[in-house]
């Protein structure tokens, strides 16, 4: 499964949104209505899934699904 599909799966699970809503352009906060707790949980889930560490200062810059996918690509 590619990174986008995996991020999509985790986002759907964590935020309880429809799969179709999780596009590359979707903003976690504005489009997917994530609150601050959701974001923390999402980042922790991504850290676990991809076995990476996302420091707080990096997490702040991850606003959209594509930000997350790009970030994970760079880290791997």
């Amino acid at each position: 499964m590619d990174i986008f599909e995996k991020v999509k799966e985790i986002t759907v699970e964590q935020l309880g949104v429809e799969e179709d809503a999780v596009t590359m352009d979707a903003s976690f906060i504005n489009d997917l209505e994530a609150d601050s707790l959701d974001i923390v949980e999402l980042m922790m889930a991504l850290e676990e899934e991809f076995d990476i560490e996302i420091p707080d200062e990096d997490a702040e810059k991850i606003a959209t699904v594509s930000d997350a996918v790009e970030y994970i690509k760079d880290k791997q």
């Binding site: 609150d35 707790l37 949980e41 922790m44």
Partner: protein, 250 residues
């Protein structure tokens, strides 16, 4: 049996108020994780608490660990999940005293009381937070003290730790409310336990004179409130500090 199949962790439950809380949850059918620190006699006390819970129809397992150490609270939460699969109620009850007037209070007396009473609760909550937020349910109850509400000469460290627990309680209540997790504090007044038995007679007399109900509390007075707060009857109560003190603070 209100707490049938509910997992309840009670820190510092080998004796005193914590033990009574653990036993009462056990009697309501809960799966109880008993905890004490790993020093002589605690194992025997933990085993006897577990035995009593099982006799009364609950399930019980114990783990000795030091709540002031995050790696040990991580292990405690893992242990609870391995034994009972989920976590429904956490009672942060572990606490110590090192009383002295501030001019004679050593740095280590200050540090050790803050480490167990305040940081210990933080550690347990942090270790469990991910599990609770995923579950979308959970109840946290922190054992504060009237000493943390009104201050107490000779207890600068203890009252600071308990006042700190009240702030922790309110912040956690606000942070985790969106995940259906409630957090409250119970502030016991003068309760008859080994902790208060070691106070001098004249100090006890002074306290008694200021308690409107003119008697000291019993451990069950505290346990009764803890069970109420943990249950569905308290489902709309969060971020509160409730005194159980015979009217000492009002």
């Amino acid at each position: 049996m209100e707490f049938q199949n509910k997992t309840v962790i009670v820190t510092g439950s080998t004796q005193g108020i914590g033990r009574e809380i653990a036993l009462k949850f056990g009697a309501e059918g809960a799966n109880v994780v008993v905890n004490g620190i790993d020093i002589p006699l605690q194992k025997e006390l933990a085993e006897s608490a577990c035995a009593e819970i099982r006799e009364n129809g609950g399930k019980a397992e114990y783990m000795l660990c030091d709540v002031s150490k995050p790696e040990e609270t991580d292990a405690l939460i893992k242990f609870a999940l391995e034994k009972f699969e989920k976590i429904d109620v956490i009672v942060n009850n572990a606490g110590i005293t090192r009383d002295n007037l501030i001019m004679r209070m050593s740095e280590s007396d200050w540090d050790s009381v803050l480490a167990v009473n305040l940081k210990g609760a933080f550690n347990v909550i942090k270790s469990a937070a991910r599990t609770l937020t995923k579950q979308r349910s959970g109840v946290i109850i922190n054992m504060a003290s009237v000493s943390g509400v009104m201050g107490n000469a000779g207890q600068a460290n203890y009252s600071a730790s308990k006042a700190g627990l009240i702030g922790l309680t309110k912040s956690v209540a606000k942070e985790l409310a969106a995940r259906n997790i409630r957090c409250n504090a119970v502030a016991p007044g003068f309760i008859q336990t080994a902790m208060t038995d070691k106070l001098k007679e004249d100090i006890k007399e002074t306290y008694l004179a200021s308690i409107p109900l003119k008697r000291f509390g019993q451990v069950e007075d505290i346990a009764n409130l803890v069970l109420f707060l943990a249950g569905d009857k308290a489902k709309y109560i969060t971020g509160q500090v409730i005194n159980v003190d015979g009217g000492l603070v009002m």
